[in-house]
């Protein structure tokens, strides 16, 4: 029964699939638009356009709806000018077009504050942190994972400790990392490494273990002795290894914000906290969306690349 349902879903016409993909993004945006542009949906605040007789109202002030109506009633009773305004959302929910504008402005105008940095500079810094953290982790984590997945003795020796260490939250090592590596990029990269490495070893080891033993046995009956790992195990698991790395890279991104708060705040996190401090929430949203776009976009790119790199892996599903 499963066999019937799943291929049906997968083999949906490409045009239909593209439409569904588009909708999966359009629906959340539509909901956001509804909350932002339809005045009777939510809008708990009132944006004052004419303060009337209320002395502490100014044009552009955001007040609670109840308070506004209360004041309007009082003014009416006292025979003074009634304040006017229109329904609005809190400052932390900017409308889509405001965020879209911030998106453009953030890339096209110089930073407003003296110590400010361009958004793309912040992003580039963040990407470098992720890159080095992930590369350093992979340099040791992937080979160790493959060996752990291949040799039972090594697995028994390393896995219990790694299992233990994986439960320790990476940010908990922040202070230690700063003490050892200083306040700049060192400790940030260290946090990404700590957050990625231990998962990586376990995930890669598991992938290695899933290798069909027949493949290894076939290689042994063909006379392979010493080069089993480089000639058989690694090539056989390479597509799955690649997929693991894609997933792990996603996890590395989730450690980014914490990592960047350690020592001197930097990168996209610094940009976000800075903008939030000045209540430029449209910039905050723009930055968050950019992180999403970079993550999603790069993963999409890696997936395409994977299909090019491992043409023999595409049709594995039909194998049995």
């Amino acid at each position: 029964m499963m066999k019937f349902v799943i291929p049906l879903g997968r083999r949906a016409a490409p045009s239909r699939r593209a439409l569904l993909t588009l909708c999966s993004f359009l629906i959340p945006i539509l909901i956001w638009c509804l909350f932002s542009y339809v005045p009777f949906i939510w809008h708990p605040k009132v944006m004052v356009s004419d303060p009337g007789g209320v002395d502490y109202f100014n044009p552009g002030t955001l007040v609670d709806k109840d308070e506004f109506e209360d004041q309007a009633g009082q003014m009416k009773a006292q025979g003074l000018a009634v304040p006017r305004g229109h329904p609005a959302n809190p400052v932390y929910l900017p409308a889509p077009h405001v965020v879209a504008k911030a998106f453009v402005v953030a890339f096209s105008t110089a930073p407003q504050t003296r110590d400010g940095v361009w958004l793309h500079e912040s992003l580039w810094h963040s990407i470098q942190i992720i890159f080095w953290g992930f590369v350093l982790s992979s340099l040791v984590g992937v080979p160790l994972g493959v060996l752990t997945g291949t040799y039972v003795t090594l697995a028994r020796l390393s896995e219990p400790f790694i299992e233990f260490f994986r439960y320790l939250p990476a940010p908990a090592f922040g202070a230690l990392a700063v003490a050892v590596l200083g306040i700049y990029d060192g400790p940030k990269i260290a946090i990404i490494v700590i957050g990625t490495f231990f998962q990586q070893v376990l995930v890669v080891a598991n992938t290695t273990r899933k290798l069909d033993p027949t493949i290894v046995e076939a290689a042994r009956t063909l006379g392979t002795r010493g080069r089993l790992i480089t000639k058989v195990v690694v090539p056989a698991i390479l597509p799955d290894l690649y997929r693991d790395q894609r997933i792990l890279l996603g996890w590395a991104w989730t450690y980014l914000i914490v990592a960047e708060l350690i020592g001197t705040s930097s990168g996209i996190t610094w940009y976000i906290t800075q903008q939030a401090r000045y209540q430029h929430f449209e910039n905050v949203y723009a930055a968050i969306i950019i992180i999403g776009m970079i993550g999603f976009g790069s993963d999409l790119g890696f997936e395409r690349l994977g299909r090019k790199l491992f043409p023999w892996h595409v049709a594995q599903g039909d194998k049995r």
């Binding site: 009956t221 006379g223 491992f310 892996h313």
Partner: protein, 309 residues
């Protein structure tokens, strides 16, 4: 036919009748060198429930260019046996000798074709076949020309650069055979290699295998659970019985060579098949145990009144 019929009617021992030509052939086979010898082979598995005896006192010899089939019901340890012969598993006691030297592990001399797809999915057909020669240190050029020869021999010239997933089940097993044979093993071990193929492909593969075997210096030990397949291919059939796996009989197949599918109806063929059926599916076991119980208590999943039977 008239002369043979009364003998067949005499009953179960008809399969022992051999024509002079067949008898001569077996005599010639036995005069050849012994390639593989198994002596007092035992295999015990340690399980949480205690030790299980998988194989008990297996003895047989395989002569050069002989085709031996091993047959038996599921659980008789035929796969364990072939894995031990291939050096992929250790035996508990006894000896496995290849050219009088004990087998200590898998290697080029013990070619193996597995039941499942064991091709390297990341390599093309040609590179799969080149794998063995390259592992033994031959140059890429030599390996490639060897591979070409074998690809032609198994009739996959057009598919040399295809990946295994692009091939049908039958083609994949041809590649697996070529990949094992390019190493020129002393013996080719085949573990139900055609078990997953459809009936038509299977019979074509059987003929194809016989063709290969005829034309090169090749000794084959072939595991199957298909009686027809065993009789069609084998010189001798080693019948195992289960729990524990023991040799029940080593049958000399009296069907003359060269073999052809037309012989499936011949008296010799039917006599051997009757014997194998009697050994492997004894009548009293057919009605007993799980088979019948499961169906007796079959739950009815439909309420409709229009019964199908």
């Amino acid at each position: 036919m008239t002369a043979a019929s009364p003998k067949l009617d005499e009953g179960a021992l008809a399969y022992l009748e051999q024509t002079d030509a067949v008898r001569q052939r077996f005599k010639r086979i036995k005069e050849r060198d012994v390639v593989l010898e198994v002596r007092k082979l035992h295999k015990t598995f340690e399980t949480p429930q205690g030790a299980t005896e998988a194989l008990r006192d297996i003895n047989f010899k395989v002569h050069r260019r002989e085709f031996i089939c091993v047959i038996g019901p599921s659980g008789c340890g035929k796969s364990t046996l072939i894995r031990i012969l291939a050096g992929l598993e250790r035996h508990s006691s006894g000896e496995v000798l290849l050219d009088d030297k004990p087998v200590t592990g898998p290697g080029r001399d013990l070619g193996m074709v597995f039941q499942g797809y064991s091709l390297f999915p990341w390599l093309t057909v040609k590179r799969n076949i080149m794998f063995g020669p390259q592992m033994s240190g031959q140059s890429t050029g030599t390996a490639e020309s060897l591979a070409r020869t074998w690809i032609d021999l198994v009739g996959l010239t057009q598919f040399a650069d295809a990946y295994p997933h692009q091939l049908s089940g039958g083609m994949r097993q041809r590649v697996a055979i070529a990949r094992a044979l390019v190493n020129q093993p002393r013996i080719l071990l085949m573990d139900e290699p055609f078990g997953a193929l459809d009936a038509q492909t299977r019979s074509r593969m059987q003929s194809h295998l016989l063709d290969i075997w005829k034309n090169i210096d090749l000794t084959i030990l072939f595991i199957t659970h298909d009686l027809d397949e065993a009789i069609y291919l084998a010189d001798r059939i080693l019948v195992l019985k289960p729990h524990p796996g023991e040799v029940q009989e080593l049958i000399e197949v009296p069907v003359p060579r060269p073999r052809a599918p037309a012989q499936f109806g011949s008296p010799e063929f039917r006599a051997v098949k009757a014997r194998l059926e009697a050994l492997i599916h004894p009548p009293h076991e057919l009605d007993s145990a799980e088979d019948t119980v499961a169906f007796a208590n079959m739950i009815r999943f439909t309420d409709v009144a229009d019964d199908v039977e």
